[in-house]
Each structure stands twice: as C-alpha cells, then as structure tokens.
C-alpha cells in the first residue's frame, strides 16, 4: 500500500471523529482530482463547484462508514464525487446541450498517457474485447456521466437497445474482473 493511500485513510479516520481540520487537509490533497471528476461530468464551473462542495459534505458525513477492505480511499472519494455530480446532472435534467463543453473549458479528456496501474490495465484489456461503440458508451457514461437517454440521442439508437449494450458490457467486465 502506497504512502498517499495511508495518509488518506488517516484523514478519513480523523474526519469520522469530527475533525474539521482533517477535512481541510484532505481537501487540499484531493480537491484537484475530485474537481477534475465533477467538471468533466458537469462542464459548467458553477455546477461543478456546487457538486464539489456537495462531495466533501458527503465525505464528511460518510467517513465513519468508510472501510478500506471494500475500496481504496481515493476510489471511495471519487465515488462520492461522481455521485454528487450525477445527482446534480440528473436532478437538473442537464441535457447534452447544457453540458456541451464550453469554449476553453478546462475539463480535459481522460489522459491515456498517464501511468496506469495493473488493475486499470486489466480493466482496459477487458474493455478492449467489446465492440467500439459499446466501449465508447461505457467510457462516456463513466467519465462524462451520460445517461441512457443521452447516449440514445448521441448514438441514434433506442434507449432499450443502448441498455442492452451497456448490460452486455457490464457482464463482460463482471466476468473479467475478480474483486477482493
């Protein structure tokens, strides 16, 4: 287990005890990452900022329930950021137009040039067995938060068809990955 992961767990332990300064330390270390997550999904800074606040308040409330045996700390933080962003996106019914990248938007494409871990290599190998369209749909759903309805419009296919493709993709991932 790497050093940052240990530090994140320590912060989460302290936050679970109600330590506000630990939340601030955690924010300093992780907010760039989580803002990258929510900005990619929501595109507009005003929405992304709101989702980021919401994410850390969720983290504050849920820290006592964090269990390292289920999920690495960073992944757990990303989970809360994605939930906050997706809830806001769905609640507002942000359509494709509304979340279309603004001119000069800072939300960058996921960067395939980053150094990646074995788990990700394994998952990408698994995704590589899918057809190009379903694979792209899965990635758009994960990184950009596109709903079934939005994917249906973009890929010009009925929503149930989209769902069938997604389920097939998820089955593939389930077969190819053995968590724990």
């Amino acid at each position: 287990m790497n050093e940052p992961e240990v530090r994140l767990r320590d912060f989460l332990d302290a936050i679970a005890e109600g330590d506000r300064s630990a939340l601030q330390h955690l924010y300093k270390r992780t907010s760039d990452k989580l803002y990258g997550v929510v900005l990619r999904i929501l595109r507009k800074p005003e929405f992304a900022e709101r989702a980021l606040s919401d994410a850390y308040l969720r983290i504050w409330r849920d820290a006592a329930n964090y269990s390292p045996s289920l999920l690495p700390a960073e992944a757990w933080l990303v989970m809360h950021a994605r939930r906050a962003a997706l809830d806001l996106a769905r609640e507002r019914g942000l359509g494709l137009d509304e979340v279309a990248p603004e001119q000069g938007s800072e939300a960058e494409e996921p960067d395939p040039g980053r150094e990646i871990g074995d788990d990700l290599k394994h998952l990408l190998t698994c995704l590589a067995t899918l057809d190009a369209d379903p694979r792209l749909m899965l990635l758009l759903a994960y990184y950009d938060g596109w709903s079934r309805g939005e994917l249906a419009i973009e890929f010009d296919a009925p929503a149930p068809t989209i769902r069938t493709w997604m389920l097939r993709g998820l089955e593939q991932i389930r077969e190819g990955t053995t968590p724990l």
Partner: protein, 138 residues
C-alpha cells in the same frame, strides 16, 4: 436477500451512472435497507474504480473550500467550551487544583463530540473535585 443476476447488473448500471434520476433514487433507497445490495454497489465500485486513474486533475477556484466550511456543523458553538462561565470554572479549578491534570482533561474533552458525554464528564469532574475538597476540609 441474495440478489439476482439482473439486480446485480442494475447495480452495475447505477455505479456506471447510466440510470435516470428516479431509478437512482430507487436503488439508493433499496440499498439503504438491503445490505446485500449495498455490498453489491461496493463490489461494482471496486470493479470500475481503476478508470479514475485517467482523470486529469483540475484546480478548483479558491471560493469552494470556504463554502464547504460554512456548511459544516458548528459543533464548537454549542459546546460548553465556548460558554464563558464554564471556561471560568474550569480555569479556576485548574489554578486551585492540579493545573496540568485539569488542562489535560480540557484537551481531551475537546476531542469528544457528544455533548451528553461532555456534560456527563464535566459533572463527574466537578463532583470529584468538590468531593475531594469537602473531604479535605473535614
């Protein structure tokens, strides 16, 4: 409750993020009362988590943290440690009794969140102190 294959894939859709608003809410409601569904969510989170490695970090504006801080519960404001009378009593005790022990207790008590625990401990502390003084007096 053992979850079916279909439910497990629905959980996968939830974690991936393709469900619509009402479907998300429904699944969260079920997960809140069905530990097996909640567990399935975490398994899917773990399966998809490696994807986050590719996310490009972006620095948020400086205005966000103060907003978060504002929304945190202000537990200290309700605390007896903000109550001047209580503080005065503790300080008086600290001076007249064993200074370091009393301040040590204040330090430790700052860490306790529950007011019930706090009041209980303060009462015990005062009772013990008063008891000790009274005994010494006689």
């Amino acid at each position: 409750m053992k979850i079916t294959d279909d439910t497990d894939l629905l959980v996968g859709e939830y974690v991936l993020g393709t469900l619509e608003s009402d479907e998300r809410a429904k699944l969260e409601e079920i997960a809140a009362r069905e530990p097996t569904v909640a567990a399935a969510i975490m398994v899917w989170e773990r399966r998809l988590a490696p994807l986050h490695e590719l996310i490009v970090p972006v620095a948020p504006p400086d205005t966000v943290w103060p907003e978060i801080e504002k929304q945190l519960p202000h537990e200290d404001q309700n605390s007896r440690f903000r109550d001047p009378v209580f503080l005065e009593v503790v300080q008086a005790l600290a001076q007249s009794y064993k200074a370091d022990t009393a301040m040590g207790l204040v330090q430790r008590m700052r860490r306790w969140r529950s007011l019930a625990v706090l009041f209980g401990a303060a009462a015990l502390f005062l009772a013990a102190y008063l008891g000790a003084t009274l005994l010494r007096g006689h």
